[in-house]
Symmetry: none
Subunit: 228 residues, 4 copies
DNA sequence: GATGAATGAGTCTTCATTCAT
DNA sequence: TATGAATGAAGACTCATTCAT
């Protein structure tokens, strides 16, 4: 009837906790990212972050000076590796620009849209008013560089006569938007709605590429409208 | 044929979300909307809402039972009039579907994208995890009906042979995304960044319409790719 | 067997709390002074301050921004009225300087030594390292002005030939010290020790005056030492 | 009838406060003394004590059971050697009592007033409310014995007709006070104020001795006041 | 022994909510 | 009805103490 002795004679000693200086920060950041994305900055309790990372509240403060610092670290540490890898991998080639473009979108989706960055983007958009420096960091380190890559592809395509001329800056915004919103959506309303009404990412990606390429082959303005 | 006055004696109108008496300070809702959008739900203090509305904190509780109820009322009261007006106004006509479509986007922007609904959308996306009912309300009352209108236009265009056949559900998402994201952005990063890097809404709208119409005239798949 | 209903029918309503905006700050300051003097700054819990003042913890923050501000307010509000009254009252007269001097010491004791200022002095001495601005305020507003009054009396006595010449600055320190230490002591060790070993203030004051006046009549240096 | 010797094997010395093994880092006590004096008990963090002593926080606990024990050890270990040496050195002689008295004050200053005991005194006065046993220890081991030595000198002087009769207990307090306060002050306000307004210890000591001796030669009461 | 990572009780502080006025 | 003083539960953060290494 008595509960078994938790540390009976002859049983291997089960330490109450372990020292894991190396792995703690990453675990804490992961837990914090999840919760920040789920609930937003203010509604996230550090207790829960700690609990989700399997440590006590105090341990958090061994690694991060404050909630705000934790937040900034989450942003930084999530973004930087993604961006660094991205920068290394996006490179020129001799292929047709349309192929480059399609690959760009697909890669973006795989590297960003389908990763934790998507949740982070939602978070940063939501907290831009409260954390302008963070928003600016995100803008400068993620949005701008990514836009520059896309712009380069467009310009190449135009220069080589593969694409009709377009306004590059506008196009970047216009073409990224569906992917970005889709990615954000996945961490928001999609989590609540019956899968039925959702469009599958693959399907969405294909349609998106088709839309963009259609406009690049024919433009949208010069052509006579059907029936006119 | 006009809808009955919403709150006279002997009212028949029973809205999904209860309406409260007309005398309630709309200033409170306006102040709350602003602050919720600026800072998010949790970071908004009722003190400030009251102050911005020019009343005392206690007065807030004469009109709203709690912070959560205030939030829901903000969502409800911001959305419902917009949607109600929208429903009355979007009607069929004999014009070409391309014209309808262009008008639809422009009207959407003017009625929603450039209004407080945009901030609300950002807010709801951010708080979807904390307020699933609100998110669902938004989905059911705003996103779905709006999508249905757009879908109807597409279907009409296809039926009349004005548009190439497309997958309607995907297209709705794909085409709304740039407008939606642009609207959200205005309440987030755009508020921080130098105007220089921004694309003007008018320019954006035009480019967007061009993009969409291009794809509807030619589709994106049948054409041989350049270089093939 | 049931406890009597705390608010039975027919009983006057006993409010859970009262609004006492005017008197709260003074009550809080009094409670805080007591506890700060008893335990020091760091060891004083705001809960206890609030409890001693008969309010809840949150109420404290309606009147003082933080523990530190409360501390500074305690110092300021305890000192300023005492000093202000003191300044009004200490005035010249035609009496012999010895009489002035005796009265000065006695008044000092009654106005400061035997009041809450004594505890405050102990506190400030103890916290000088942690709150240098407070220490400086005390020095500038209490110690210096008081020393100046005493110095004026001494100088008058010397000028009128009533006192032998002395170094004024040194004398001020030398003569204040017994009174100051006695005052501090009352809030420290004296509270613990059997009354037996203590010297009564009255007796102490008389002895102190005698000591000072003796030195002013004869000085201490010119006289041949006994046995020399 | 004697209690069993707690530290047997030929030891005779049974101090009131247990001594711990010699190897214990005196650096810890020194660091702790400094910090306790600077900031007070509660505001001193063990981290800092350890850091200042050049060891890790954990090491502290190898030598002291708790912060409170460390505090008590600091008091004990600072006081006991000083007092022990003092007791050995203060001895009778055939010199005039005035010389004894002057020497007593000067020695007190050099042995106590100008040493770390001064800071400790400030600390104990401040913490008397929180650590009554410590305060009592200080009273019994430092204040009382020191007062007894001074009392003995006074009594000797009176007995030999060198001094006018005085109330011994009162005089002890009265005469120690300037030295004690001066010593405390050096660890408090003096650390903040421009040296200009301070009186040099040497000057102060001389003036103090003069004051005391003047009163002992003539008393303060029998003489006609000037002008009477 | 020595270290310092981990713990968690305890504090300050905030703010949604209540209620005397 | 309107106010804002008062409340108290909750959350960020600290730090004495423990214990795996």
């Amino acid at each position: 009837m008595t509960p078994p002795d938790p540390t009976p004679a002859g049983t291997a000693h089960v330490p109450r906790w372990e020292r894991r200086k190396e792995s703690r920060p990453a675990e804490l950041l992961a837990a914090a990212l999840e919760l920040f994305v789920e609930r937003g900055y203010a509604a996230t309790r550090l207790d829960e972050v700690a609990a989700r990372a399997g440590v006590s509240k105090g341990t958090l403060y061994l690694y991060f000076e404050s909630k705000e610092e934790l937040f900034k670290a989450v942003v930084r540490e999530t973004i930087v590796p993604l961006i660094d890898a991205y920068r290394r991998d996006v490179e020129g080639s001799g292929e047709p620009s349309a192929v480059l473009l399609e690959r760009f979108f697909r890669e973006w989706w795989e590297r960003f849209g389908a990763t934790r960055l998507a949740g982070l983007a939602k978070l940063i958009i939501a907290e831009a008013g409260n954390f302008p420096e963070v928003a600016r960091f995100f803008h400068d380190e993620v949005i701008e560089p990514n836009g520059a890559v896309l712009a380069a592809i467009i310009e190449r395509g135009v220069a080589r006569g593969e694409f009709v001329p377009v306004d590059v800056r506008t196009s970047v915004h216009l073409w990224m938007a569906p992917l970005v919103l889709k990615a954000i959506w996945a961490h928001s309303l999609d989590a609540l709605c019956p899968a039925a009404s959702r469009v599958e990412p693959e399907e969405f990606l294909v349609a998106h590429a088709r839309l963009v390429l259609a406009s690049l082959r024919h433009g949208g303005e010069a052509q006579p409208r059907p029936g006119c």
